[in-house]
Symmetry: D3
Subunit: 248 residues, 6 copies
Amino acid sequence: MRADGRQPDELRPFKVTLQPNKYAEGSVLIEAGDTKVLCTASVDERVPPFLKGQGKGWVTAEYAMLPRATQSRNQRESIKGKQVGRTMEIQRLIGRALRSVVLLDALGERTITIDCDVLQADGGTRTTSITGGFLALALAIHKLSGTVSFARYPLADFLASVSVGVLQEQVLLDLNYEEDSKAKVDMNVVMTGAGSFVEVQGTGEESPFSRAELDGMLGLAEQGIRQLIAWQKDTLGDAGIRIGEAKR
Amino acid sequence: MRADGRQPDELRPFKVTLQPNKYAEGSVLIEAGDTKVLCTASVDERVPPFLKGQGKGWVTAEYAMLPRATQSRNQRESIKGKQVGRTMEIQRLIGRALRSVVLLDALGERTITIDCDVLQADGGTRTTSITGGFLALALAIHKLSGTVSFARYPLADFLASVSVGVLQEQVLLDLNYEEDSKAKVDMNVVMTGAGSFVEVQGTGEESPFSRAELDGMLGLAEQGIRQLIAWQKDTLGDAGIRIGEAKR
Amino acid sequence: MRADGRQPDELRPFKVTLQPNKYAEGSVLIEAGDTKVLCTASVDERVPPFLKGQGKGWVTAEYAMLPRATQSRNQRESIKGKQVGRTMEIQRLIGRALRSVVLLDALGERTITIDCDVLQADGGTRTTSITGGFLALALAIHKLSGTVSFARYPLADFLASVSVGVLQEQVLLDLNYEEDSKAKVDMNVVMTGAGSFVEVQGTGEESPFSRAELDGMLGLAEQGIRQLIAWQKDTLGDAGIRIGEAKR
Amino acid sequence: MRADGRQPDELRPFKVTLQPNKYAEGSVLIEAGDTKVLCTASVDERVPPFLKGQGKGWVTAEYAMLPRATQSRNQRESIKGKQVGRTMEIQRLIGRALRSVVLLDALGERTITIDCDVLQADGGTRTTSITGGFLALALAIHKLSGTVSFARYPLADFLASVSVGVLQEQVLLDLNYEEDSKAKVDMNVVMTGAGSFVEVQGTGEESPFSRAELDGMLGLAEQGIRQLIAWQKDTLGDAGIRIGEAKR
Amino acid sequence: MRADGRQPDELRPFKVTLQPNKYAEGSVLIEAGDTKVLCTASVDERVPPFLKGQGKGWVTAEYAMLPRATQSRNQRESIKGKQVGRTMEIQRLIGRALRSVVLLDALGERTITIDCDVLQADGGTRTTSITGGFLALALAIHKLSGTVSFARYPLADFLASVSVGVLQEQVLLDLNYEEDSKAKVDMNVVMTGAGSFVEVQGTGEESPFSRAELDGMLGLAEQGIRQLIAWQKDTLGDAGIRIGEAKR
Amino acid sequence: MRADGRQPDELRPFKVTLQPNKYAEGSVLIEAGDTKVLCTASVDERVPPFLKGQGKGWVTAEYAMLPRATQSRNQRESIKGKQVGRTMEIQRLIGRALRSVVLLDALGERTITIDCDVLQADGGTRTTSITGGFLALALAIHKLSGTVSFARYPLADFLASVSVGVLQEQVLLDLNYEEDSKAKVDMNVVMTGAGSFVEVQGTGEESPFSRAELDGMLGLAEQGIRQLIAWQKDTLGDAGIRIGEAKR
């Protein structure tokens, strides 16, 4: 049993508020336990310079934490004058992950920017940003499909992410901050609805890990992501949104 | 009658959620119509270098808008590499206004930082930040008073702010974004519970204004702020918080 | 009687040197007591991106202090790597104020940049920058009118600014640095030749102020600005420059 | 057979020049095919602020590419004014990986900085930096042990890294730039001499990958790293350097 | 005969206003033809970190041009976010040159900062800054000597600088902007009162120059600097300031 | 006799590796004693904005030192967020010097960027960068001439640079770091194959120097550069490269 009463293979309660923002093409407030992330998807009818004139679209992400999202206040990156390494690493991961399920050719020359702003952080902010960012993206593409007639539906599959780790010789699913700070290994996994891996990032700075531990973590992550994707399907289904048949 | 059905001297519906953030010493989510600002108050047991060793405290504020708080997405200031002039101007105003009701000597050598992050903007974000920031500050000082025994209660009075303007020859209270962008004059007023002025900032870039218009705006602002402060008293009173008798 | 021998409602001696700079389209060295500001107006036959193709012009201002303009030396903003909040706030104010008397449509697609560089600071640098910046602007537009035939004269009215404040229960006009640093309220007022308000910015961080004090300050400011505008008229008149009849 | 004649499970020729730099405490020029990285280890008898007074040491890494290390010239980060996201991500990875085999307590209050400067890039610059950075670190600690008497030898194990990927349905070891740019999956693995994992980072942005592909890549990486560590042992052994018996 | 009527070996008219700034320990407004530089010397009773505790002083310089000091307006370096290469090069030169005549040991642990702000530029701004900066420095040290009793007078000698160049096969002294922009060689020379060289910087980017031309320029520079130093002596002598006998 | 056994007028051993970089159009690794600089020449078929449409080319240089090129480690400029003054000064010098022997009109609308990255520094890094940068430039133009048919060969002459100085009353050629740090005067000279001066930069911050010392240094520099240019001719000749007959 874990400090918050969960089983080792149990996700935290997930909650979502659809369209909390009246301006964004897609938006969700996603909560995983006490971690709260506001994800907005903004559609811009232009692409970055390196894609101009190729008929392809682009999906990118930005990530930030409010100064008091954490136990002690952090200085704003606007005052530091730059985004720190951790921020860049995370937003690059979110962007890559989301692009993996978007048919950029089908999207056409437009950019969708997913902003993930962490209002409160209690572990798993990057994985929750991916799971929530996918929902915001799906809402925006759904909205776009009302005005643009896509030859193929640009969203190819579902996508979700979860963290796993090893703490006191036990493999745990969906670590909160306290668990995460004590874990000897920490791993983030991103998978598609079809059950393929998009990202696997495991780090054993505190203590290297064995192949058996790696396999244990991968198994638990697969199981957790399957639940998250089922929950995403229900959430979008209730809102009348269906991911297109298009296969990549 | 105004586009949203209000009378010229009518405030938008104000709403507050107390303590939405589990880490901050004080926090509120304040809503004025569709403007939503998350205000947190963080206590730090240190003061800035220029105050060290004087036995005095400090109150300061920071302000930011999420990228999609507005109709079209704005670039993050962390990516621009600096805060823009508008941001600096606003957070300097919020900080000055809040300090005017704090007895810095009584607070002792500690800093309270008020972060005002605009989740959604529909006009009046700076005045709403002041009104909400005051509540977060009051909650934090109330919490502090549970562990620190202050010789005098460091919060001397209530404080609220509202915008007024002149649109089509009519003086209006609490402008929303649409009204604000058409107004010929725009004025922000900050007042204390005792009815004194803390800040008066009127700008007639589009069209200079007369003394009569100025007087009209000041009158409407006084009336609106009186209502806001009554509402603040109720809000804090319901939470069992009373501003000390201490006079400045 | 004030420390420098002035009456409460008395301006400091104002002095101006016209065209001290041989390159700028308009320039003045303005002195208000010991405050000295070099103001240049530079005409550029382009407009910022947001105005392109609209047939309108633009007026903008920049403000800076030389490192030793003040009692103790300040670090250069070029070395800090950015303009500080105070600088941005002031130059935004100067720009807004000057634009209020310019007919941007009449000016045509060109930008006039007013640079206000404080050589020596003894209080009132922002108000002196506005009063002097107006003169530089008027000289530049006058010079422009020699080569461009404007349908309407682009300068609609005179403009000047002064500070007022409350010190030891007395309302004072045109505060020097020593008075300013002790005043409980500080207010900057900008008005046109027609007697309308363009900006009213009063701050009572040290001590909130009453409506009566506000009215007293506004009255004194009106009187001081009237004198400044009479002096501006003489100054320009002596130089053979007359502001056009055009009404806004 | 691969374009450069290698078998799928074949490393590129590895070459090392020990101590090419006369100032650094440890330095190597490592070459993996046409990828050339100069790694220096600099010892500083201080630790970062967050470690002061704890009796522990620190190991950190910085990574950069010379402007013409690549096919077309890249702008210097000193001119951009900041390190880009990719750089930060890589140097954070190198630092974490190297720290995993250092006994920071045993090292004492000193910092070792590993600089990895890529002179020529042909794929695998981050994994080659880790493999070479380890050698520079080992040389520096060996040198330190000549003057400092460590209670335990601060280097606990060997460490090396290699990339693996999937290209045209085939799992390949140690991709060069051309292979890397065409691969559907790209994975970097870091392991210790004891055969444990320190980092596993797999990315399938172009195309998600299956568990079978993941297992194939992990197997190939293990085999490649075993060879690299054997080569590291020979290299250091020839230089008379033996990693201490100390276990973590 | 030159365009402005001068002989090839003739300086422009030099003019100086002593102590134009009421705050600085030393200040001069120096004019060389239409080039006008405001030089202030600020004394700070601290030294930079690298000199702490050595009992030595420091002299440093900063240089900037007002935006409209030149024919067309330049962007402020505070807005660019950094000083450009030309600025850094010039202020490093001014600082080095001035330090060469200061006995840093005799000065004691204090820093004198010479700010050279170009109000109007017509060629020779760096040499004029050195010549004027020396005067401001001398005034500041003279003032210091009124309150500090120096064992040796910290100013060892006079110092001045001038530019020379080759234009249409003729060697010219003290080039103005028009001459400078057409010259094939441009050289700045700094010398002491004793007739020694402190800096010699000749550049023939447009066209390499011969040893004979170099000798011609050096001769003319020596002659010009001798005149400037005589003028400095008169200027300071009239103000009752005498450079101490101290030899370096 | 000098500490390293050289005569006063003796160069350090010079060594060059041609084309150490497989991507750059021209590259050399140049060694002057223990000073090692990697110089690459990159051709870009565009020119900077200020040259667009004039049919002329451009040559520019950038300079940097690896963090541990020196005795103690230096912070990277990418982390400082800017290039320091010394770097800017040096790269401006290298660029100017190289441009002096290039016929920019003949080169056509293309830019050649010379990157000089110091791998190890032992004095004379700027002069070695010029001497080596010239070789990289010559290799790149030679390569270009294989595909572009130039009306005139764009490289007009050879170019090399050396430092000279005065140490203990003796004039020395090609100072190493130890000599340089003790020298009272330090001078860098750049000359063409035709024996003309391109740059002469002498600095006597520690101690002003006489005309006789200046003449002594110039003589020694001429002699050293003559040897360097002979060595450059051999080096390029062995590689089958001949500088065109074109005269400037």
